[in-house]
Symmetry: C3
Subunit: 155 residues, 3 copies
């Protein structure tokens, strides 16, 4: 079980930076071979509805999604800027919750707030990953129901 530590704070910071720098291979490497990745909304989660936006049951599905972004990158100049708040442990074993906001950067236009919410993750120690940890389960819970469903890059 992961203890919240400076090492963990650095790991999630680095993992998130891979997305902001579009280093999708490194981001993907932060997931365990047996891992799920879901994006849902707070309303859906509290209502017991299944994840509506993205639902990857395996790392293979997540990889396919990432590869399709890399190949058909229709919005190449856009990028994300995530800001993480302090993490806390959740109710389940090894569960770690990290509030975040994500801005969408358009190089020659105004930056917009793209999404806010929480990462509800299960992280495990994994010395084979350069982060020192890997995710076995990530649920991205968005605060608002108003989200751009294009959602080209994963959150």
């Amino acid at each position: 079980m992961i203890e919240l530590s400076q090492a963990f704070a650095t790991a999630i910071a680095r993992h998130t930076a891979y997305l902001d720098h579009k280093k999708f291979d490194l981001w993907l490497d932060g997931f365990h071979d047996e891992s799920s990745y879901d994006v849902t909304t707070k309303y859906n989660l509290e209502s017991g509805f299944p994840a509506g936006l993205i639902h990857c049951q395996t790392k293979g599905q997540l990889r396919d999604r990432i590869l399709s972004i890399a190949r058909v990158n229709v919005y190449p100049p856009q990028s994300y800027r995530h800001i993480l708040s302090a993490s806390m442990t959740g109710d389940r074993r090894s569960e770690i919750i990290t509030p975040f906001v994500c801005y969408l950067i358009f190089p020659n236009s105004d930056t917009i707030l793209f999404a806010s919410g929480e990462y509800i993750d299960v992280w495990v120690d994994d010395a084979d990953c350069r982060l020192g940890f890997r995710i076995t389960e990530r649920t991205v819970v968005l605060d608002s129901d108003r989200i751009d469903t294009a959602l080209a890059i994963p959150l």
Copy 2:
């Protein structure tokens, strides 16, 4: 006196998340029986003016305020999303300062930046609280004088 530690970072993260999840009883439990809670602006504070927005001299006053929100919740679908920056110690003994921004989430409309500022807190160790710490004094110093005075949920 509190040392800034991972345990403290987790405690303030969790305490703030209670507000974002509208778990007002748990949020209130993070305050010591003898505690004050004020919301003011940077301009008021620097001018030596008394706190103008919220002024609770006792935990009982804060509890009354919270209960009135729970009973007369005129804007039930709204919620907050706080993002905390790293904390630092202040000039006074046991004083801890935490910059924050707070977004207001409307489920079916755009998220807005509601407030930014600093928590100037006095926290003490308290093993009886599940956070491990309790607040004896909180002053919320808002950066802007332009704040929605309705301020239904405490910051």
Copy 3:
């Protein structure tokens, strides 16, 4: 070489707060006598272009810039609010990267998102500074090319 630690997180939090509180002397004291300070954009950095917005090769140049702000402060009521995400180590020795957003506060008007990006810093231990550390090199990499070139206060 700096290890990421709670002491460092507190140091960068405090150093950044000096800017938000316009304590420019204390902010400047966080720089080593032999230090550089640059503000550039992600696009410029990735294209190998020299820093375009601010380029101070010495602490003296940075001091001159700060003094000129203090003397010719044309926008006195404005202030910043920085929110820092968790720091991570960079590829170079003693390099520390800290994502941030910076809001511009107008006391009687709406707060705006002023800039987002990363501090790419080299920090060294320095017991003579009240932060416990000093910067020998800071590159502020802005996400967007759209930045107010007035940039009165350094980021």
